[in-house]
């Protein structure tokens, strides 16, 4: 990793000020770098501001302090170099799968014939072949999230931001989606930043896991995952994997308990 990091987060803090209520400090002094092709996860108790950080990186929110750089360019708003997969499937219900996957491309002014061709590549990659003309309401939750992932990948972002993408799915579907995400990642070699509260998900997918403290969120610990790739779901039963998950849980447990008292 000699090259400059593709994502640089420098001293980022975020304070939400609200009318007639005390302001809330969501993030404090975050410093973080992600390199080209890396898969990094952020785990933390709920309310630790990890989703806020993702929205700042995407440019949906402005930080109160600090700066975010993507490929050495200062982030001032949403841009085509980043794409988000949201927790809820935010697909347009009146558009078919292929139209949804091509949505980002159409917004960027790309001709339909070309956008559809690109969309098809990612539909195939996400295992949605044959469902091009279906509408979101005709698909299962897992399928809809695949469309979401394909839509984000189709705009060819430098960084893929995943905001608890599988949190709304049942436990079994989630496992399958994790391994499918890994195989998609292996083929596309995107830089990925994943926000999750599932420790095993973070360890299974990532090269590095960033553990957040409770509010105000800050980097508590960085854990390197040295499990060999490609990883299959069986990895989750290996003793190294279990030990790693356990270590991270011990780091978070106190934070989760503290967070419970705060609310």
């Amino acid at each position: 990793m000699s090259a400059a990091p593709i994502l640089r987060i420098e001293n980022v803090g975020k304070i939400f000020t609200r009318a007639h209520k005390p302001s809330v400090e969501a993030l404090r002094n975050i410093n973080l770098s992600v390199h080209q092709g890396e898969f990094v996860s952020i785990v933390g108790a709920s309310g630790s501001g990890k989703s806020t950080l993702l929205r700042i990186i995407d440019g949906l929110l402005a930080p109160s302090d600090g700066k975010v750089y993507v490929d050495d360019t200062l982030v001032t708003g949403p841009g085509r170099d980043r794409a988000v997969v949201f927790q809820q499937d935010s697909l347009l219900p009146w558009k078919t799968v292929v139209e949804n996957v091509a949505y980002g491309l159409s917004l960027a002014g790309i001709r339909w014939s070309e956008a559809a061709k690109t969309a098809q590549r990612f539909i195939d990659l996400a295992g949605l072949t044959g469902f091009e003309q279906h509408y979101p309401h005709q698909l299962s939750g897992g399928m809809r999230q695949r469309v979401n992932v394909a839509r984000a990948l189709a705009v060819d972002p430098k960084i893929l931001l995943l905001d608890e993408p599988f949190a709304a799915l049942d436990a079994q579907t989630r496992e399958i989606m994790q391994s499918e995400l890994l195989s998609i990642w292996q083929q596309s070699r995107k830089t990925v930043l994943l926000i999750t509260h599932q420790i095993d998900e973070a360890v299974f997918l990532s090269d590095r896991v960033i553990v957040f403290s409770a509010r105000p969120g800050s980097v508590r610990r960085e854990v390197r995952v040295n499990l060999p790739r490609p990883r299959e779901l069986e990895v989750k039963r290996r003793p190294e994997f279990v030990a790693l998950v356990d270590d991270i849980w011990k780091l978070i447990e106190a934070e989760v308990r503290a967070g419970l008292k705060q609310q």
Binding site: D58, G59, L60, G77, P78, G79, R80, A83, V84, F86, Q88, S90, L92, P93, W94, Y103, G104, S106, L107, A108, Y135, P136, H137, V155
Partner: protein, 260 residues
Amino acid sequence: MRAIFDFLEQDTRAASFARIMSSTLSVLILWQLLSLMVTNRLLLVPPADVAASLLEEARSGAMWVNAAATVTAVVTSFIVSIVLGVAIGLALASNRLLSLTGGPVLSALNSVPIIALAPLFISWLGLGFASKFVLVLMVAVFPIVVTTEAGLRAADRQLIEAAVSFNASKWQIFTTVTLPFSLPFVVGGIRVAWARALVGIVVAEFFGSFAGFGFAILSASQTFDTARVLGYVIVLGAMGLLGSIAFETLERRLAPWRQE
């Protein structure tokens, strides 16, 4: 028996046709039975007499004169109501200050029984097309304004955020998220407006006109021609039903995901 119910509950064109036919038939049977009990023909006439009276109206040409007068007035005014209602709804949804200032006035106007102002409109605008046009407009425009504004505001925040995240411009958010999201709401408002427009036109024609279904109903009731009164009421009912079916179909076409 079970099979018949299962068929009727289906979401197909044939089943919905069968449902309408069977409810119409039940009304006709009930009506026929009632008119066997109520023998005073000034109060109630059997369906067959009404049908005969309608045929007579059609043959003599009176039906077409009335239809032309009513349909031109109600359709023109209805189309203008849609355009105006959507335009006002758009303005209210896009400007918070306008919505806050204009909102109370609009809801006050909406709750006033505008029908009661019919005599006033007629003395201002005279008998005929102009007064009908304005009265129908006044009753039909409000449901469209209200649903357009509500529909535009109802757009899923999650969808808007996703569009913003894809770097969409304000105009792109409007055309790809807010507008398509609001369309089924708008059509729902138009459906309500159509029913109101039909009431509006009849009242307008009661108070002042020389032709139209409302005029025909009034003049028939003054000569105690109950069959003719009911005949024209049925024609109006059919117009209402057709409009309702058409707009409901359109609403479903525009938002098939809402039924799941």
